[in-house]
């Protein structure tokens, strides 16, 4: 059920390929232009969306081959707009063996204040190594830099190998 005053600004459910992200960037730009959203807010929502989706894309082959996951637990992104903020939720399956590390990382970032987030960004951009998937390890901290809320998350069990990860955050406007 959609809460009163909440508008589904952008929604996509399905496989995240590289070009899918490009299409969603175009869709978001168009919607932001129509809604006359300020450039500063648009850029923040855009960058959170890109970082979230690129992270899904990096790991997509782990679950794209699994027919049940593809059908019942596809990646999904929702951007809702209400009176004062955008709420961005991005969900996708993650390997259960990776979820503890992910949870630890999210909890650590959420324990930092604004200055701590900046310091962690500086630490990772200076000392971090690229992963074999080409990630710079900056995605979550970049989203934390932009977000006006903590990085809310949920990890729900799917089966013995996968969990369904949902990340949500808020960007204020107006």
């Amino acid at each position: 059920m959609i809460k009163q005053g909440v508008e589904h600004f952008l929604h996509y459910k399905g496989p995240i390929l590289y070009d899918t992200i490009g299409q969603l960037i175009s869709d978001l730009k168009e919607r932001m232009f129509e809604a006359r959203i300020k450039q500063a807010v648009y850029k923040k929502v855009l960058m959170v969306m890109i970082e979230a989706l690129e992270n899904v894309f990096k790991y997509h082959e782990y679950f794209e081959k699994d027919k049940v996951l593809r059908k019942n637990f596809p990646p999904e992104i929702t951007i809702d707009k209400d009176k004062s903020c955008f709420r961005i939720t991005c969900s996708n399956p993650v390997l259960k063996k990776d979820s503890n590390e992910l949870k630890k990382r999210l909890d650590y970032i959420n324990s930092l204040d604004r200055a701590g987030v900046k310091e962690e960004y500086k630490n990772i951009i200076t000392n971090g190594q690229f992963s074999e998937k080409g990630g710079a390890g900056l995605g979550l901290i970049e989203m934390a830099k932009i977000s006006d809320s903590i990085l809310g998350y949920k990890l729900d069990p799917i089966n013995d190998k996968f969990e369904y990860y949902s990340l949500n955050l808020i960007i204020n406007y107006g």
Partner: protein
Amino acid sequence: MKRLILSATDYTPAIDLNPANLSMHFTGVSRPENVGLFYQQVIDWVEEIPYELKELGSSTLKIVFKLDYCNSATQKYILIILEKIVEIKDQGLDLVVEWYYDQGDDKMLEDGEDISDAIGLAFNFYPFES
């Protein structure tokens, strides 16, 4: 040392690395599918500078970023490229970094400030009207 010119795409910036006036320009958006592969050509170009420094027309390298947006992996590569250039500074290279941002775009300004802070190199910031 050859001039490297790349046209912008939907995912990658226009790049102009020009030895004639010793300048590097990055314009547009940056979220390459393979960020390492894309920026390696820039790193290769930068790594040639020390060998040709005496032959180059200028000893001041001007680096101009005018990006609409860049993902976090690009930010990391900008840092890597600037680190390589800072190493050359000791060999007699002066460096000017210009970071342009849309005047309504706090995010791009902040990205520049954070990269500048991380590498300990002063950038000149210039707002522009889109």
